[in-house]
Amino acid sequence: MPALVRLAIRNLGVHKGKTLIVGVIVALGVMILVVGSSVLGSASRALKKSFIDSFTTEIVVTGKARGIVSLFGVAEMGAVEGTPLVPDFQKVTAYLRGDAEVRSFTPQISGAEQLNRAGEDTAGGGPFVYLFGIDPSTYGSMFRNARIVSGAFLEPGQEGILLSTRQVEDFGRELGDTLKVGDKVLIQSFGNAIREVTLRGIFTLQERNMATDLIAYIDPQSLRALLGMASSLEAAPALDAAEAALLTANEDTLFRGKMVRVSRGAEHLPAMPGTGGHPERAHADGAWQFILVNLTSPGNAASFIARTNQWFAAQGIEARASDWRAAAGVFAMIPDLMGVVFTLAVIVIAIVAMIIIMNTLVVSISERTGEIGTMRALGAQKGFVWRMLLTETLAITVLFGALGAAVGSAIVGVLSLRGIPASSIGSSTLRPSVDPSSLGSSLFLVIIIAVLAAIYPVRTALGVQPVTAMQARAE
């Protein structure tokens, strides 16, 4: 065994009290890091799987915007930006169909709306939902999270909405009505458009997370109308007599003074982002905001995104392929926020640990000035003293760090066996596992902290003059 290591280990044994103080702090630090990073890592993986399985898929293709386009809108600092359409929809879908890596895809539009009871009394409002306008012919085969408990899934071309049991309960609680399949539901958009749709089915979620509770499914035509996306070609046949009458009616005569406006979609088409101001073109291209793509090999998502974006650029198509994180929008930031909170906690713990370790080492070195002075008198260069004290610090850190890692792994093992209730992140029970890389990084981090904490005490030791040896007491 090298002399420095032998000296370090024996010194740790002699100074048991101080070794224990520093060691316990190191062990606790590694244990907290191992348990925390394992639980967070497992939660993050569970959330990712839940999001991918329940509504994002691995890849989402969107139109380009200044901000990040998610299924819940465009995230841009200090500005409001509409969700763009996927440009050249037919060309893009043809490309996806021809790519061997693409297992399946489905188009989608989405918007935040408020449910209300149908009929004349539209005062107040019911629960807010995030409506996903879907293509029933492809969506149901890609996402099997919603299990119909009443009614049926939407048929292709069929008008209607699907609500979750929880949304139906919220609706009943807030508006006093018990919705049944076949009932009409009024949907109010934030752009003041309204639309009455038929409740076609009620579903429960097999896998829930903080996002899925908000999601309801609607036929794309109705949602386009609510969002002001409907083209004259498609909107005209969808109007029944009552709706047609609304086009010429006066608001006051219709609603007896209640301030409600009808959708403008059927008579006037606003310019939509990505369509160049031509809604007919948007319609011809499909007028979808998203294409959700499943790959045959999910592990190839990054390379698929890069390749697809290169193709978009080469073709001059203003579209972008992104991963599930972009699709999940703000919800994907939740594990990141949890990570930030954990990191802040770790930083606070690290600072406290550093101060305690530093003070302990300073006391230890002040008790060993005679020994250090003797070594210097015998010809030890400052570098030798630095290496000796660093070896002692590393010996404590590695020994107790390994102990902390073992205890942390055992705690993670127990948590895995018992399970952590985690319904909000898409898993009824979270069973964390130790990531070997987190073990290594935890140990590395604690070693860095210990070494940083040792700098000041070691500098103190390097200031010990050899003449101190002449003044030492008899051992």
């Binding site: 002399a3 000296l7 002699v14 020994e371 010809g379 002449m470």
Partner: protein, 240 residues
């Protein structure tokens, strides 16, 4: 002896400061020490013995004057160079033994050899350590730690450690002060034996007249100056 002195002190002064008060410890000391000397720096407490040893041992620097070790003036050297001189040329025997408590007798003696990365071959190093252990009569104690040894045994370990790097000079600051008189005598005799066998220069401070009598060369200090210097060639023959 005729050859170049191993230690030269020329008009050396050392002043310590207690707050704003100047305390002169050495006031213009000049003397030479020849290679192979067995010399006692004697004098009462406060006469400047330890300060002189510290200056010769390169653990302190003079306020004025010159200190030369084997012809090298130590005044302008940096920490690395001065440490290297201490390591290569000077062995220390402390009044309080100053052994490293966590190391065994054998490891303590070997310690100075590890400071330069253990430059010698391991086998050669071990053989030399065994020679030193036998020389100081601690063969059966080689695996013991300092806490398990008597004061005399500890000082024998310190003597062996001081010789480990084969230094030209061994400095001993009151080496018998913490020992009973019989043990003190045996330690001084051991030092003298090694001085003769290895031709190592021994410089020790003491205020014990019985120890002073064994020295070949005595420098008596008083109030930081050389009060008297005496060479006793007869002690050389007596020791042989």
């Amino acid at each position: 002896m005729g050859s170049k002195p191993i230690v030269e002190l020329a008009d050396v002064r050392k002043v310590y400061f207690l707050g704003k008060t100047e305390v002169p410890a050495v006031r213009g000391v000049t003397f030479n020490i020849e290679k192979g000397d067995f010399i006692s720096i004697a004098g009462p407490s406060g006469s400047g013995k330890t300060t002189i040893l510290n200056l010769i041992g390169c653990v302190d620097t003079p306020t004025e004057g010159k200190v030369r070790i084997d012809g090298v003036e130590t005044g302008g050297l940096g920490d690395r160079q001065i440490t290297s001189i201490r390591h290569r040329m000077i062995g220390f025997i402390f009044q309080t033994f100053n052994l490293i408590p966590v190391l065994t007798v054998s490891e303590n003696i070997e310690f100075p050899l590890l400071l330069d990365g253990g430059g010698r071959a391991r086998g050669e190093r071990r053989e030399w350590i065994e020679t030193l252990i036998e020389e100081v009569g601690l063969g059966q104690w080689r695996k013991h730690r300092p806490g398990e040894l008597s004061g005399g045994q500890r000082q024998r370990v310190a003597i062996a450690r001081a010789l480990a790097t084969r230094p030209r000079i061994v400095l001993a600051d009151e080496p018998t002060a913490n020992l009973d008189s019989a043990t003190g005598q045996s330690i001084i005799q051991l030092m003298k034996k090694i001085n003769r066998e290895m031709e190592t220069t021994f410089i020790f401070s003491t205020h014990d007249p019985t120890i002073v009598r064994i020295a070949d060369h005595v420098i008596n200090l008083h109030d930081g100056t050389v009060a008297h210097e005496e060479r006793r060639e007869a002690n050389h023959a007596g020791a042989r």
